[in-house]
Symmetry: C2
Subunit: 219 residues, 2 copies
């Protein structure tokens, strides 16, 4: 798949998503303009980084009053959002799957969790938080009928590897994997492995390093 | 806080955590050695990257049989783990807090969720998944008595900003924030803002880019 456009770097995409959430919150509070250093401060980064990200997407600002909040929101919308709402399926409606669904829906985004999958008879063919839950056996059919393009994998880690083939066969284009099993897909399927243990171990490592430094400095 | 040691880059720390989980799984299956390209394949990266990460921590391998799984696990343990178990508190025991607690505990790590906080009377002073849940009013006292050094913030986004001062006052050293409100702390407190919406919007962006490319190519 040749890339015919200048794709924005991953980290910039993440920050654009974060800026937009802050801008939407400003907009709701009636704030019309924001300076790059204020936006930077909220996100714990430098104003140079904010300006570089916005330059990368071709946005320039009125420097006297700062960025126009509403215009910048629409500019980021054009970059990040697809023309139509993208439908998302959740595989595994345990605590994590339900937490994600509640957290994510009703936020007025161009992404919506529309179907769920499980194998637990107590969940299959029921509605959970307004989302119909189907048996995994019907995955391919339900994905096709509901025009699902992204799945969130919140199943037990032990079954995650068995989901790869169904996901490929169903024509899914993007996977957000919360299990501890890294999943690999052929080119053309976007995958983000997002293991909570990794992030927690990272935080713990840097906490430990900080403590070791303090001890080393004789505090 | 001067850094007196060579701290390992964030991304390498993440990968070491991921390698270790794979190595532990190999070890449980009785696999004694693993080649760098096999480890790389499981994680969807190059063998060069694996070798570079392990070189960075000073680990060298018997190239004929690959890395010794058990020795490498112990080597990574020495790098990532603190000498004593680190105690973690969860702020907000809704679906997400409970999902994280269940997911994380009982994994035999040097990190353990030992206390939880909420303000819901149905949860406060009860035990949830074997974790005692306290009222947020008692945060500072409970953190001190239980030697908690890291907190996971899984509260509603609207209250997240009110948690910053209590977290600083209690002497917490590391924060893993799952809410949509970016939290900033003074130097010396490690913070990881980990918003699910951002990651999902990132996946959606790259899915959209892929589709646009296909259309552009006339498919």
């Amino acid at each position: 798949m040749a890339n015919v456009r200048n794709t924005i770097p991953e980290k910039t995409v993440e920050r654009l998503s974060e800026y937009r959430r802050t801008l939407l919150s400003c907009h709701r509070q009636g704030i019309t303009h924001i300076f790059s250093h204020v936006l930077a401060g909220i996100h714990g980064i430098t104003a140079v980084q904010v300006r570089r990200d916005l330059m990368l997407i071709g946005f320039s600002s009125d420097t006297k009053k700062g960025y126009d909040v509403k215009v910048l929101i629409e500019f980021i919308n054009d970059i990040l959002d697809s023309r139509n709402t993208m439908n998302i399926g959740v595989i595994g409606m345990g605590h994590l799957g339900q937490a994600i669904t509640r957290y994510f829906n009703g936020r007025g985004l161009k992404l919506r969790i529309t179907v769920a999958f499980d194998i637990d008879p107590a969940k299959v063919d029921h509605t959970i938080d307004d989302i119909p839950c189907y048996h995994m056996d019907r995955f391919e059919e339900v994905v096709a009928n509901n025009d699902v393009s992204i799945v969130i994998v919140s199943s037990p880690t032990a079954v995650a590897s068995h989901l790869v083939v169904p996901i490929i066969n169903a024509g899914i284009k993007g996977v957000l994997n919360f299990t501890s099993a890294p999943l690999n897909f052929p080119q053309g399927i976007v995958v983000e492995n997002y293991d909570i243990t990794t992030i927690l171990e990272k935080v713990a490592y840097f906490v430990k390093e900080g403590e070791d430094c303090e001890e080393g400095a004789g505090n």
